[in-house]
Each structure stands twice: as structure tokens, then as C-alpha cells.
Amino acid sequence: MATTRKAAIVGGNRIPFARSNSAYAQASNQDMLTATLDGLVARFGLQGQQVGEVVAGAVLKHARDFNLTRESVLGSALDPRTPAYDVQQACGTGLEAAVLVANKIALGQIDSGIAGGVDTTSDAPLAVGEDLRRILISLNSAKTVQDRLKAIARIRPGMIAPEIPRNAEPRTGLAMGEHAQLTAHEWQIGREEQDELTVRSHQNMAAAYERGFFDDLVTPFLGLSRDQNLRPDTSLEKLATLKPVFGKALPEGAEATMTAGNSTPLTDGASAVLLASDEWAAEHSLPVLAHLVDAQTAAVDYVHGGEGLLMAPVYAVPTMLARNGLTLQDFDFYEIHEAFASTVLATMKAWEDPAYCKEKLGLDAPLGSIDRAKLNVHGSSLAAGHPFAATGGRIVASLAKTLHEAGPGKRGLISICAAGGQGVVAILES
């Protein structure tokens, strides 16, 4: 077994993210992932070539898409002999995929790979209700006409309505936003600071588009050339007019602070990142934007343990920092996924809180605060939107380019919260 090496991030590609049931309403996950892979292939001249592995996934996935990534590879310009597999870790999917590819590169098992993710809330998989599903299964296995008729006779009109996938936790029955609103209340995250973070996200991303930052990160698709959710002209005043959309689970008298503005909307899109060994990149005359240095996952007991659903990254980061001998302040850029503005704010507040850091994270001293000027400098999910599995690839590619532009030796932190009380975090270095 060879010693390990750091995996390089060569570059990325994504399609602009579209609002649900809009520009990409007719596109399937496979259509979007294939187009995104082909854009990446075109950008780095990989037509007809094999890469070590393609790893991607979708959170909302049709049963027929069991081999979504491999099928997308077979429909792409890559060599059909390129292996691929699917992963799914809710909103952590895209970053986890990048970590998996990077680890295989680090171990010398592959020399190059593509990590990605895709999601559509427009072409979502509908399931029949559980009662009807069981009847249909018994109908399928029925041997005699009589058995079949018996099965059919059990179907009631009320069973016909399909089950639409909801953005809710199976164990708590609460929408992710409801969970986040509980956490926002617990950490006393105010409406105004959430709206401020939201405005900054839109402004940062709009400015990045203006200066051409995304020119080699985004390929237009189906008439979109920018993220559809991006509102460069949004303002605190405009956001202040929006009504709260979560808060059902709040205690009496508590203020609901989360709106459609400071929460990410349902979005369709796909992203992909090309990773490789330094040698492979050099052989192909391709740049190395940054290296993926380390990564960490964590999970919290949000069901019975009194922790917030989206707080897992808060735990993952100190573990990763300790292993790398770093402090929270040793970074030039921070990418904290804006599932909700309140999530980012609660995450930072937790790291600043001495009692929480001691009792929950087991640290002697709080991790401390983050320089806001280094946070989500090119905007994040509040502006771009958040097609669940595609967000990781968006962030990895954008941060790698940001670090590369800043020069060698720069360091960036990625923090992504995910459904199920999980978190994926990583360190990138130029």
C-alpha cells in the first residue's frame, strides 16, 4: 500500500439552478446530471476518456434511477468503460461524493474522478400510498383471476392520491424548516440578522456573476445562464415584508422569524467536480485549484437528544480542526451552506458559546468567531438555491476557485448540514 497523497480539485461545472417547476420542469435527474457531466468533459477535454470513477447521487430519486450515475455516464461523452456509483447523504451528498473520490485518489486506488450530485423537485418521484402499494404487490403476485379480483376489490378511491415527497423528517414529522425555526429560537437568532445574511448572499453572488467568477464554473442550460433564484436587487426592506413560513412547533409567544426569503427555496439543478492526483492533472495539462485536505462527518440525536436537526456540522468541525492542528480562525474563507440563514447564524453562535462548546462539544475553550468578511464570499444557497445533492459540488468548485484566485497556501472550510441530523465538513487548501 502506497502512502497517501492529497487529492487535487481541478475544476467544476454546474448548470444554473432553477426554481421548482420552472425552467427545468421537463428535465429529469438523469438529463441534468448528464448535461452537467458533458459540460465538465467539454471544459477539461475529456471526450471519450476514462476517469477512475464517477460518484454522484440524488436525494429525491425514482426507483428506476437505481443506477443514476452510471446511466448518466453511459449517456455522456465519457468513455463508457468509466465506473460509477450512487451515494446519498441528504444535503451532504455532493460533498460526501467529493470526499469519497478524494479518498480513493489519496490512497492511489484511482488517479482521477468526478464527484457530483443532482436533484429535481419538479420531476419528483411520486409513490402510491402504503395501502395501495401493498394491494398492487399482492395483485402482482396473485395466481388466479379470483385472487386478482379480490385484490382489486380492496382498492378504495381514497388510496389513489399519490404520496408526494415532503421535505420532512420521518421520525419527527416536522419539516426541515420547522426544525430550523426551533433551533433559531433556541439560539435567539433574530429576523433582522437572518435577512441581513440573506441580502449579503444575493449581493455576493450577483457581484461574482458580474465579474465573471462563474464563467468557468457554470454552463447555461435550457435557457438559463444564471441561477433563477438570484435577486441582485433584494433588500432588507423587501425581505422585511415577507411573512414567516415556519413556526408551527414553536412554544407559545415565540416569534417566527423564518420566511421564504431567508430560507432556501425548492430548486432543480446539478453539479460536478473533477478531482485528480497532481500527476494526473499535470499529465493532462490541467490546473490544480486546491487540494482536499481532510473531511469529517458527524450526526446528532435531534429526535431524543435535545440537539437541533441541522447542528451536526458544529460537532464535525472541531474534530477535524483538532486532527489538523488548526483553529477556527486559521481559514481564509468559510463556506457554510445556507440551508436557512438561521442555520448559518446558529452554527457560528454555537462555536462562540463557551458553555455549549464545553458541555456539548467537550472543548476547553470556545472555537470563537468567524470574520464575516470571509464567509460565503461568492454567495451561497440562499442566493443560488439548493438542489439538495448538487449543493456540495457547487461549494467545492467555487471554494477551490476562490482559494486559487487568492494564491497558494490559502485555506477554506466547508460546512454542510443535512437531513437526518447529519453534517459533512471539509478543508480545502490552495
Binding site: Q26, A27, D31, F221, G223
Partner: protein
């Protein structure tokens, strides 16, 4: 030569009806008329429905067979006109050739022009080619040529020999099997507008001498192209010979081989091995 520019697509069902009612007493030479439409924009949702049914990916490039859907109604209008010498009912699509000069973007405005040419003698009648040219921004981007056979018809004096055969080399055993359901014709009719009764039901097909409904040749051709779509150059020619009718339902196989930078392909009946379609695809 006169070119008539139409404002919209002609109504296909009405054309079929007109053609059927006026099928008797036709003859003479091919009309020199050309039909055209300008500034045609495709509807993304319609392209998506077409892509789904032919298993094309849906994205920014039009499926290579899609412009045929745009030009076919114009060709139908030409053929159903009384001036056209052959009766439309009973015409058999025996060959199709498409030149894609470059991929066409979903949002491009297209200019269409169709005409008929090459009235030719065939051992069992006469053939005629319905041609189409598609341009974007003044430059031709796509050409189509569909050869139809009219059994028992007579080509004019001095007409050339028909050219309907597409030869493919020996192909390896097929690895792709398609189960084609009995509603394949109706489903394709819905997205393509080609409501020729021979594709719609057994009953309507029988009225035109087929024992069952048959699949649209252009649909099978589209399925073949879709199967190799990501492995085609930007500019290519696909030349397809339609052999034995593909009765619905059927199980067929697709055999492919890389040839001369392109592909040879054949769709055959899975049991009998009879050829339904042979195709050559070559870079342009």
C-alpha cells in the same frame, strides 16, 4: 418554381382526410411547389415529450430526428395536394436520410423548406423523395430526405431507377432488446402529430392492408439514434432503410457496430430475425 410560405403548421388529421378523399385520379409529374415556414420556434415541453418517448436525453440540443417533426407536416401538405401525382394512402416510407450539419439549439429560430424530387422507377411501382432543408440564421443546419414507395404506380417516361437500399456490414449479435408495446404507434402519434391510421390501431391498419398496427419508421429510427446519441459527432449523416413492417406489439433487437468513424445498425425481429430497419451513420 414557386415557394409558398405558411404561417403555421398545417393540421395533420385534416391533411390525411383530404389526401384520402382525393386519392383517385392522380398522375402526372411532381409539382415544383416548395412549402416553407419561417422563424419557427420549438416548444421545449414538446421536445421533452418526444425525447422521453424515443429515449433521447432532454437538454439544449434538439434530437437529430426532431426537425423531421417540424418539416413533415409541410411534406404532408405537399403530398395531399391534388397536384401531387401519387395517392397518399398506401405510400410506404422506405428510406430516410438525415444530415445534421451541426447540433441545433433548443432556442434557435428555424426556417423550414420542403419540396418533392426524384420521381423514380421501382420494381414494384414508383418512388418519390420528399426533401427538407432547415436553416438557422441563414445557414443550412439540417437536411432530410424521405423516400416513399407507391406500389403499382408508374413513374414518368425517362425516370431514373429508384435507390432505396441501405446496406450495412455484418453486425455482431445484438445486445439491446426492446419490447415494443401495442400502443407505441398511438404514443408516438401523440408527440409527433403523425396520425396515419396504419399506426394507430389494428382496425384502422387493416383498412389499409396491414394485418396489425405498425410502428412509425421514424420512431424506430429515432430510438436507434438515441441509443448512440452521446457517441455521435456534431455533424453526421444517418441513412436508414425501412424493411419489413414492425407489427405491434413486437420484441426487436438492435445490433450496432462502429464503422468508418460512425455506426452500422440493424433493428430485427427478436424471434424471426427479419430486418425491420438498417442504418448507417457516418461523420460529415
Amino acid at each position: 418554381m414557386a415557394t409558398t410560405v405558411l404561417d403555421g403548421p398545417p393540421n395533420m388529421a385534416a391533411l390525411f382526410a383530404r389526401a384520402a378523399l382525393t386519392s383517385r385520379g392522380r398522375g402526372g409529374d411532381l409539382p415544383e411547389t416548395r412549402l416553407a415556414r419561417h422563424g419557427v420556434a420549438v416548444e421545449p415541453a414538446e421536445v421533452a415529450a418526444y425525447a422521453r418517448i424515443c429515449r433521447f436525453p432532454f437538454g439544449d440540443a434538439l434530437p437529430a430526428t426532431y426537425p423531421h417533426l417540424l418539416t413533415f407536416p409541410l411534406q404532408m401538405a405537399l403530398m395531399s395536394d391534388r397536384a401531387f401525382p401519387l395517392a397518399l394512402p398506401g405510400l410506404v416510407h422506405v428510406r430516410n436520410r438525415i444530415d445534421q450539419l451541426r447540433p441545433i439549439g433548443l432556442g434557435e429560430e428555424l426556417d423550414l423548406e420542403v419540396w418533392a424530387e426524384r420521381f423514380a422507377r421501382h420494381r414494384s411501382g414508383a418512388t418519390v423523395d420528399l426533401c427538407a432543408s432547415v436553416s438557422a440564421g441563414g445557414a443550412e443546419v439540417w437536411r432530410g430526405r424521405s423516400t416513399y414507395l407507391a406500389r403499382g404506380a408508374t413513374a414518368p417516361e425517362g425516370a431514373p431507377e429508384a435507390d432505396v437500399d441501405v446496406e450495412v456490414g455484418v453486425l455482431p449479435p445484438a445486445t439491446i432488446t426492446w419490447r415494443i408495446p401495442d400502443d407505441a404507434g398511438r404514443r408516438y402519434a401523440k408527440v409527433s402529430g403523425d396520425v396515419n391510421p396504419i399506426h394507430l390501431s389494428g382496425l384502422t391498419a387493416k383498412a389499409f392492408g396491414f394485418k396489425r398496427a405498425i410502428a412509425h419508421g421514424m420512431w424506430v429510427e429515432a430510438c436507434v439514434l438515441a441509443a448512440v446519441d452521446n457517441r455521435l459527432p456534431d455533424a453526421f449523416t444517418v441513412d436508414v432503410g425501412f424493411r419489413k413492417p414492425l407489427y405491434l406489439p413486437s420484441t426487436v433487437t438492435l445490433a450496432t457496430a462502429v464503422r468508418e468513424g460512425g455506426w452500422d445498425a440493424a433493428v430485427r425481429n427478436a424471434r424471426a430475425g427479419t430486418d425491420h430497419l438498417s442504418a448507417t451513420i457516418r461523420p460529415l
